[in-house]
């Protein structure tokens, strides 16, 4: 204090600045004192929570986002790529290098590969030595031990082959690791075979046509002399780097795209995982937003409590002649101090949580990710400051307007109605916060919609409540209940605001809980234990029984076998479809050109592409534009859902079951007659059912399934899936050797990766849920605290009138129980509405009613609120009336 006033003397050069300094000094003093006395605890806690949770959440979200991005990026082996059916000008790579991006260049083509007397068609992918920019390429150099290592692209003169191609060319696996590796000729060039491709990041499910893959260096391509004008070739430029650089490149590239060129984002490569993870990402973002809203609510409630408690102080200040300006300076500066203090503490706690979270996730993330950085920190600071200032404004305005006369008329200024202006300010701030935080208009709209529903329901309910309590009033027996009802009635308007706080807290927990449940359940359904991790394809009909036997001997369970025939949809109800032959201008080697790839949501992207084509040229109905993989079976495929019609009625001929997406796009309805060209034969079938296919499942999926009679006599190859344990991996090599035409596709690495990420995301989700529950508890606490002073007075009255402590306790418990239950019911209602909006509009999930909410909501609400309420009012009942009176003054 001494040094303070000396300082004041020094600084006090001009009168007004000296006065101002003195006011700041008063504010500082009040801040220190009130902090020490615990007056600021709740308000500080809520700001601390806002800051630390936003910081922790946004760094976790940031990390998960990065993880998702990098995992999804693995699927195209880059962050962006440019695909083209014509050679891509070198200036693209030059520009990208100039921007500081990493680059890679691919050429895809098919060519005959020769090894001694053997020859086989090879699907060639020529890459640079930077391949893959994202994801991991596993190459095995020893087929005996099957140990694989991660590699970058092959050097010139080297080639890596898929197992199937390796055996098809009758190469000697013993030579692979020797000094004289086997040699394979591609066109006019001889290449040393130095490895076997175990898995490529960017060729996830070449189930139908990638069995004979060859990877070589792009520098060797000219020497092969296989690339001639008119040959079917596909080009890709790949880029990786920071978002800003990538955006710049895309902006530069977009205007000069040629008709056959397309830029892909990682998010366009809709894969099983990116779908699931984008959902998780949305969830985390939503949870972050909800946590933020709760913390903001806590701030609003806490500042309301704060100002209620400071009415007298302000009245004293004003009576002592403080001007409005002085009061404003003193209390706003105090708020600034509280904010700074809480933001600092929040940052410390936030970075601790962040450290723990990032540490926990470190194993799941690529090592070269940039550090978390300052973004979460800045967001957190801004959020804390905005919350503290904007959400305390209504209470502060009220506080500033307390008349000095309150010192004589003690209840003046008590009735605490928030002005419309303040409400508008808070609503706008909320919307802006959500918008800025989520950068998602749709989510903002949903939050606003749900908020509007919430307010409407609460207004109606509280109105009814007030009316009811007035009627019931004295007629209900039991004096504890009577006291509780009287109390509810007296605090009607305050209860409305309490109800909003309680409801909000319970509702947000319910929403997150249900979403967490359905997201995680969906994941578990998608990848149950023992999910097939290998596909076996291209099994020739005459080998089918033999292959089955081999599996049986090894005790490996095969999933359903599907025969595959290729064919083209030519007519719908005799209307001839236009055929835009995409097979011709896009090479068969193109990654996305397979259709019903087992488990491949890339088809969705394909669908979209076809949609666009349809829009641009509109004469007549367009065909699907390529050959389809067709199958026939009378066994309803797992992971499919029957939407319309009947599944393969017995004795009916020429049936076809159509996938929902194709049906919608081609406007195919139940009962339509479809014409197919299969080989040289025309086939006519009737649509008897429409199916929904889960493209995210690791199962072979089909657009069209025929009844057995239709094409049973066509030569088909077979596909199935199976689960293979680590120990049995070597057996696969034997199998492939024994049946050279069949291919085994190992998707275990991918499944593992997905499972890891899911696990990690599940942990983050639980963490986020925890933070939200904490925020909710804080809101409840603040809310209960704010009624504590009032309760204190009442308790004094009841106690001095001789009421028993237990009765007052019961009354309080009953009051909180009923408030909590009512809040729980409203919360369930609004949560259901919000879930409907969220699941259908944001998460792309099917909404189903959540009856359990109607039970969990009211019960947990009642218990939770009653617990917090009763516990925090307990101290009142322990005091004697005398002590209470003393506390009051």
């Amino acid at each position: 204090m001494h040094s303070n006033s000396q300082l004041a003397k020094q600084i006090n050069t001009t009168d007004s600045s000296g006065a101002f300094f003195t006011w700041l000094k008063i504010a500082w003093r009040l801040f220190v004192r009130e902090l020490g006395r615990g007056e600021l605890t709740i308000i500080a806690l809520s700001i601390i929570l806002a800051v630390s949770s936003v910081m922790a959440l946004s760094s976790v979200t940031d990390r998960v986002e990065q993880a998702i991005m990098s995992k999804s990026a693995a699927f195209i082996a880059a962050d962006r790529d440019l695909q083209s059916s014509h050679p891509i000008d070198n200036i693209v790579i030059e520009k990208a290098n100039e921007l500081g991006l990493q680059t890679d260049k691919h050429i895809y083509f098919s060519s005959m590969a020769f090894a001694g007397d053997e020859m086989n068609i090879a699907v060639v992918k020529a890459v640079t030595e930077t391949y893959p920019l994202r994801g991991e390429l596993f190459i095995s150099q020893d087929l005996v031990t099957n140990q694989s290592v991660t590699k970058k692209g092959p050097k010139q003169g080297e080639a890596w082959l898929s197992k199937r191609l390796f055996y098809a060319l009758s190469l000697d696996d013993a030579m692979l690791s020797s000094d004289t590796p086997p040699v394979v000729e591609v066109g006019e060039l001889a290449l040393n075979v130095t490895g076997i491709i175990e898995s490529e990041p960017d060729a996830p499910f070449q189930v139908f046509d990638s069995g004979t893959r060859l990877i070589m260096n792009i520098g060797d391509v000219p020497a092969t002399n296989v690339i001639q004008p008119g040959s079917r070739i596909f080009y890709r430029d790949l880029f990786a780097g920071e978002a800003g650089q990538l955006d710049e490149l895309v902006q530069w590239l977009e205007p000069q795209l040629k008709p056959n060129q397309e830029i892909r984002d990682v998010k366009d490569g809709e894969t099983a995982m990116s779908n699931a993870l984008q959902r998780a990402e949305s969830f985390l973002m939503l949870a972050g937003v909800l946590g933020l809203l709760l913390a903001a609510t806590a701030v609003a409630v806490a500042t309301r409590l704060y100002s209620q408690r400071h009415f007298d102080s302000i009245a004293i200040f004003k009576t002592l002649g403080a001007s409005v300006q002085q009061v404003r300076v003193v209390y706003l500066f105090q708020l600034v101090l509280i904010t700074i203090f809480s933001v600092l503490v929040g940052i410390i706690i936030g970075s601790l949580i962040q450290g723990v979270a990032v540490e926990a996730m470190a194993g799941q993330l690529p090592k070269d990710l940039p550090p978390v950085g300052f973004k979460p920190l800045l967001i957190a600071i801004a959020t804390g400051a905005v919350c503290a200032l904007m959400f305390s404004i209504p209470s502060l305005l009220k506080l500033f307007s307390v008349p000095p006369l309150r010192v004589l008329r003690r209840n003046l200024g008590d009735n605490f109605a928030t002005s419309i202006m303040a409400k508008i300010i808070m609503a706008i701030t909320t919307i802006l916060l959500v918008l800025i935080y989520s950068q998602n208009l749709r989510l903002t709209a949903i939050v606003m919609g749900a908020g509007a529903v919430l307010v409407a329901v609460i207004l109606v309910v509280s109105n009814i409540m007030i009316r009811l309590s007035r009627k019931v009033g004295s007629s209900v027996g039991g004096s504890a209940i009577k006291i509780a009802l009287a109390s509810l009635k007296r605090r009607a308007s305050e209860n409305t605001s309490q109800l909003i706080g309680f409801t909000l807290a319970i509702m947000l927990i319910l929403i997150l809980y249900s979403l967490e449940n359905s997201i995680i359940k969906e994941w578990q359904q998608q990848l149950p234990e023992g999910t097939p991790n290998h596909f076996v394809i291209n099994i020739a009909q005459h080998e089918l029984e033999q292959v089955k036997q081999e599996f049986e001997q090894k005790d490996i369970v095969l999933e359903q076998f599907y025969p595959i025939i290729r064919g083209r949809l030519t007519t719908i109800n005799d209307e001839v479809l236009l055929q835009n032959d995409r097979d011709k201008d896009k090479s068969g080697a193109k990654l996305t050109d397979g259709e019903e790839k087992a488990n491949n949501a890339q088809t969705k992207a394909e669908n979209r592409a076809s949609d666009e084509e349809e829009g641009s040229e509109s004469e007549g109905r367009k065909g699907i534009g390529r050959e389809l993989n067709l199958t026939f079976t009378e066994l309803f495929p797992e992971n499919n859902t029957l939407l319309e019609g009947e599944w393969m009625t017995e004795g009916v001929l020429n049936q076809v079951s159509v996938e929902k997406g194709v049906a919608e796009r081609m406007e195919i309805k139940l009962g339509d007659k479809l014409g197919f060209l299969i080989g040289a034969r025309e086939v006519e079938v009737n649509v008897t059912s429409i199916r929904d296919v889960n493209w995210n499942s690791f199962q072979p999926n089909f657009f069209m399934i025929f009844s057995n009679d239709v094409v049973a006599d066509f030569p088909a190859t077979y596909i199935s899936a199976f689960y293979l344990s680590k120990e049995d991996k070597l057996w696969v090599n034997q199998l492939v050797k024994q049946f050279p035409t069949l291919s085994i596709i190992d998707v275990e690495a991918m499944i593992n990766e997905i499972q890891q990420v899911i696990e990690q995301v599940s942990v983050s989700i639980s963490f986020v849920l925890l933070v939200v529950v904490m925020a909710a508890t804080l809101v409840l606490l603040a809310q209960v605290q704010s009624s504590l002073d009032e309760r204190r007075k009442e308790t004094v009255i009841y106690r001095t009138l001789g009421a028993k402590g237990s009765m007052i306790q019961n009354a309080i418990t009953f009051e909180f129980l009923s408030l909590g239950a009512i809040a729980g019911i409203i919360a369930a209602l609004v949560a259901e509405v919000s879930l409907y909006l969220l699941q259908s509009l944001m998460f792309d999930m099917d909404w189903v009613p959540h009856p359990e909410l109607w039970l969990i909501g009211p019960i947990s609400g009642a218990v939770f609120v009653a617990l917090v309420g009763t516990l925090s009012t307990r101290s009142l009942l322990k005091m004697t009336p005398n002590e209470l009176i003393r506390q009051l003054s």
């Binding site: 009040l30 004192r33 102080s313 004293i316 002592l320 403080a322 001007s323 004589l408 003054s889």
Partner: protein
């Protein structure tokens, strides 16, 4: 005490009505309640005056108006020849911080500030840099005068009622106000502590020669003022016989008790 020619406070034709908020069940018409009617009061500089009246007679309301905390519905209030009822809240606040001190029944200290800081507060809010800069020293001096130099760092809830009121007295005097308003300063205290506070108030007041306006229903206390007025039924009665017989002597006589009873009767008869 000699009466100076300047009037410290002049209230002319002051009346106060409040509109009662209509009960939700009744019609929307607001009921007007008349609390003060045609109050005429002149208080001389340096004078001490007691406003006596039954509970609910409007004493606090009148005090609020005289002190510029509230505005009369009609009439004028002059404060050292300056009309204050036409000033806005800011201007009245300025007058309060320079010219007025307050002592209330409920003490009204800022709960989160120590005794010392509470006393410093008016000085620190002052426009006078001299006062502001010496706030701490002055506060210590005043707390010493009220006998609390050993409780400087205690918070109000760590002090007894009497101590709190003594802090409030120190706080009221620190700005050297011309006018001191006290609303039932000892009503919340037991007899002994009440007496202590009263003694202190009058002692300091006499030394500082401050004009004192005291509201009380305690005749004993009222008698310590130079002048007494009775507020009854919203009207002010100057020199009511019942309470002026005692004169301004501080010595008590045998008729005191009966006087008290008489006043009580007089007051209750007024209703």
């Amino acid at each position: 005490m000699s009466q100076s020619r300047i009037s410290a406070l002049v209230a002319t034709n002051v009346s106060k009505q409040v509109s009662l908020p209509s009960a939700p069940s009744s019609s929307s018409d607001e009921k007007q309640l008349s609390i003060l009617n045609d109050i005429e009061l002149t208080i001389q500089d340096g004078e001490s005056i007691a406003i006596v009246g039954a509970s609910g007679s409007g004493k606090s309301t009148l005090l609020g108006i005289l002190a510029g905390l509230d505005l009369p519905t009609t009439g004028e209030v002059h404060f050292y020849e300056k009309q204050i009822n036409t000033l806005n809240e800011e201007q009245r606040a300025q007058i309060r911080r320079t010219e007025v001190g307050f002592i209330f029944q409920q003490f009204l200290l800022v709960p989160s500030l120590t005794a010392l800081e509470n006393v410093m507060l008016p000085a620190e809010l002052s426009d006078d840099p001299e006062l502001r800069n010496n706030a701490k020293v002055k506060a210590e001096q005043w707390l010493d005068k009220v006998g609390l130099s050993h409780r400087l760092d205690h918070f109000p809830n760590q002090l007894s009622g009497g101590e709190q009121q003594r802090v409030a007295i120190a706080r009221a005097f620190i700005t050297n106000p011309k006018l001191l308003f006290a609303d039932e300063p000892s009503a919340n205290l037991d007899t002994e502590n009440g007496k202590l506070v009263e003694d202190l108030l009058f002692e300091l007041n006499e030394k500082a020669n401050t004009t004192l306006v005291l509201v009380t229903h305690d005749l004993e206390l009222a008698k310590r003022c130079q002048r007494r007025v009775l507020l009854t039924n919203g009207h002010l009665v100057e020199k009511p016989a019942v309470i002026n017989e005692g004169g301004d002597s501080s010595t008590s006589n045998n008729t005191d008790k009966s006087l008290d009873v008489q006043v009580a009767e007089a007051i209750s008869n007024a209703f």
